[in-house]
């Protein structure tokens, strides 16, 4: 099962939980230290930036090592572009990963992240090479293999990226398999995906409340996001129509059951949002907010009721109004909701991420239309920025 030391993983979760309570002032620093000594964690886990640096450097090492191996052994015997050779390289990375994890106790150190990433990438490429024949890729076996591989990596290393890949590959497999094997597959595929993702979400929801899967908490959370996304996308009007067009080669034709899909497009985000508020579930709440934007974008694609500038202005004013109302309403905590900052120290504060985003998005003010830009001469005042990207 999981490759990392299980006792340390449990102790790490315990320490994190206690640390959070210490930040809130429920537990003294001395108590935290005693608990830390009683439940030690022996992993090598450096900070975020060390992790990024080690990730980049490990990628460099493996890339050049694979390059030199291919040059020495494979190029002479035409092995180089076979699936077997790529798979062999993947196994090499995987072996290194297992060794690093078991003997050096690396845990989310950047080195193990990079080796896992490369193993998954190379084995995925190998399976794509195996199941393609003169530029024809057989998507069904490819997605099935990637699903199995990423499921294995997820179970073995509890990695969130692998969990996301696993969920996506599963949907791809169902899509390609159903449309290929089942008669009227393309007409029924939205409903199949809906049923599967709803079932999987329900299953994962229950799974995450069980103690023995605590080590996979974050993976299951990521999978839930993928399932909710799949559930919505399967019934989104634009997606359904585009996929239908691809098969029938008739662009822009209204789809059967159009009303149903329009309702789905518009209502599901609200259902997520409402359910998220009711259940106090962050994943549902945030998915609801993001998908409302998707619903509006879909609607505007078909019906141009207002010019873009008006939509942006009114939408912005509306959002500010909603946020302001919510803040006023939650000035004192109500119904278990609060507006106050969570006490858990936020990782992003290290890099002051918010201020960097502000600079990136607002650095260039909305500027005159493109053909007039030359008036500003060498000052490079225009350049598009936010105004032209919409």
């Amino acid at each position: 099962m999981i490759a990392y030391n299980k006792i340390w993983l449990t102790s790490l979760r315990l320490q994190n939980d206690v640390k959070e309570n210490q930040n809130r002032g429920y537990i003294t620093a001395e108590e935290f230290k005693n608990i830390k000594d009683k439940y030690p964690v022996g992993f090598y886990t450096p900070g975020l930036f060390a992790r990024i640096g080690l990730f980049i450097l490990t990628i460099i090492v493996v890339t050049f090592a694979d390059g030199i191996l291919s040059l020495l052994f494979a190029s002479a015997s035409n092995l180089f572009d076979t699936a077997g050779w790529v798979f062999f390289l993947s196994i090499l990375s995987y072996t290194a990963l297992e060794v690093i994890v078991s003997s050096k106790h690396h845990y989310r150190s950047g080195v193990d992240d990079a080796l896992l990433f490369i193993s998954a990438l190379l084995s995925g490429v190998a399976s794509a090479m195996l199941f393609s024949h003169y530029n024809v890729v057989y998507y069904m076996p490819v997605s099935a293999t990637i699903f199995i591989l990423s499921l294995y990596f997820t179970i073995r290393f509890a990695d969130m990226l692998m969990a996301a890949l696993c969920g996506a590959a599963l949907f791809a497999f169902i899509y390609f398999g159903w449309t290929k094997l089942v008669p009227f597959g393309i007409a029924t595929i939205p409903f199949v995906i809906m049923l599967v993702s709803a079932g999987l979400y329900w299953g994962s929801y229950n799974l995450n409340r069980q103690k023995q899967f605590a080590g996979y908490y974050n993976c299951i959370l990521i999978a839930q996001i993928i399932f909710l996304l799949g559930l919505y996308t399967a019934g989104n009007y634009y997606v359904v129509q585009t996929l239908g067009d691809n098969i029938s080669d008739q662009a822009g034709k209204p789809i059967p059951l159009g009303t149903f899909f329009w309702l789905w497009t518009m209502l599901i985000p609200l259902v997520y949002l409402g359910w998220g508020i009711f259940k106090k579930n962050t994943v549902l709440l945030r998915m609801g907010l993001v998908l409302i934007a998707a619903a509006i974008a879909t609607f505007r694609y078909y019906y141009h009721v207002l010019p873009l500038d008006m939509v942006l202005t009114m939408g912005g004013a509306l959002i500010l109004g909603i946020a302001y109302t919510a803040m006023r309403y939650l000035k004192t905590p109500k119904h278990g909701f609060t507006y106050a900052e969570p006490d858990t120290g936020h990782m992003m504060d290290h890099l002051k991420v918010e201020s960097l985003i502000v600079a990136e998005t607002f650095a260039k003010v909305p500027s005159p239309p493109a053909e007039e830009r030359s008036r500003f001469g060498g000052g490079d005042f225009g350049g598009g920025g936010s105004s032209s990207s919409y």
């Binding site: 537990i27 080690l54 030199i68 959002i319 278990g336 918010e354 909305p366 007039e372 060498g378 000052g379």
Partner: protein, 323 residues
């Protein structure tokens, strides 16, 4: 989870008092980040919408209304912020409430839109384009310092770059690869020097010390990139070596400073930019050999050096934590 704390309590790891506190604690659901994101999105949409509106309706009577609306938003926001702001100090000042940060942001961005439009339509600053970018920049710097707003400081730094004729935002730095002209390289170099000096002075004079990160972040990237660009620009002349020497000197200074201020981020940047510089020298030497064996040597160099750097980073991380 409560059984966990009962367990810890029974083991004597948690005092009775702390255990009581944990039992009493309310698990409130915080929507802090959701609301902050909404505020940010609202400001972004509103300002870009208004920015489009005035230019699209330029020949109709409506654009005067839009212009008045922008001016109104701008003055309203600044009036609110001046009223609410806590007195100015050289230390970090907490903003009076969360929404005031975004009110200030809305005010500043609409001010930029307003100035840009005045210049476009009425030539308010004549043909002196320097003035048209200088004034917004000064206003942004003043706003950032007076109200203690990191986001606006970053906007001001970006506008400083615009005033000098270049750009510092990561996207523009990566995409506008205009590093093939002497003027641009030297402009970036001067900008980087200004920002690094700014970072140094911020700490030295103890004036808004928490602003140091922003200056240093942009300063380090811009300086290293322009020094590398300079090296490649003068690749075939002896002058190239001077750029490399300057790069290593700067790298050493930032290395010392990163240790002093316990910042692994800057340590990592020094290591990675330094690695790029050393590697480009090594590649150059090996290419001189013009031999097939050189290719193998090159690959071996990258494998060996990257492994070495991995140990270096692990070691540096340890030392930084210990110190």
């Amino acid at each position: 989870m409560d059984s966990l704390y009962e367990h810890l309590h029974a083991d004597g790891l948690i005092s009775d008092e702390s255990f009581e506190k944990i039992k009493q604690k309310q698990n409130l659901f915080s929507v802090h980040w959701e609301i902050k994101t909404l505020l940010y999105l609202g400001v972004l949409l509103l300002t870009s919408g208004l920015g489009l509106l005035i230019y699209e309706n330029i020949d109709t009577i409506g654009h005067k209304v839009v212009l008045a609306l922008i001016a109104l938003i701008c003055t309203g926001c600044f009036a609110y912020c001046f009223k609410m702001a806590l007195p100015f100090t050289t230390e970090k000042v907490k903003s009076p409430n969360t929404s005031s940060d975004y009110v200030l942001l809305l005010g500043s961005v609409s001010f930029l839109t307003f100035i840009g439009y005045l210049q476009y339509e009425y030539k308010a600053f004549g043909t002196n384009y320097n003035m048209a970018t200088l004034i917004p920049m000064l206003v942004l710097f003043f706003t950032a310092y007076y109200f203690d707003h990191l986001g606006i400081l970053n906007m001001a730094i970006a506008n400083l770059a615009v005033w000098m004729g270049v750009s510092v935002t990561p996207k523009a730095l990566l995409l506008n690869s205009g590093f093939d002209s002497k003027t641009i390289i030297y402009t970036y170099l001067v900008l980087g020097a200004i920002l690094l000096t700014g970072a140094y002075l911020t700490q030295r004079l103890n004036f808004k010390r928490h602003f140091k990160f922003s200056y240093q972040h942009y300063g380090v990237h811009v300086t290293f990139i322009s020094l590398l660009a300079g090296y490649f620009f003068y690749y075939n002349s002896a002058f190239a070596l001077l750029w490399m020497l300057a790069l290593f000197a700067i790298a050493f200074l930032i290395y010392l400073d990163a240790f002093k201020s316990h910042s692994f981020y800057f340590l990592l940047l020094v290591v990675l930019y330094g690695y790029v510089a050393i590697s480009s020298l090594v590649v150059r030497m090996l290419l001189l050999a013009q031999d097939e064996g050189a290719l193998y040597l090159l690959m071996l160099y990258f494998i060996g050096s990257a492994i070495g750097l991995i140990f270096l980073l692990i070691n540096l991380n340890k030392r930084l934590k210990a110190s």
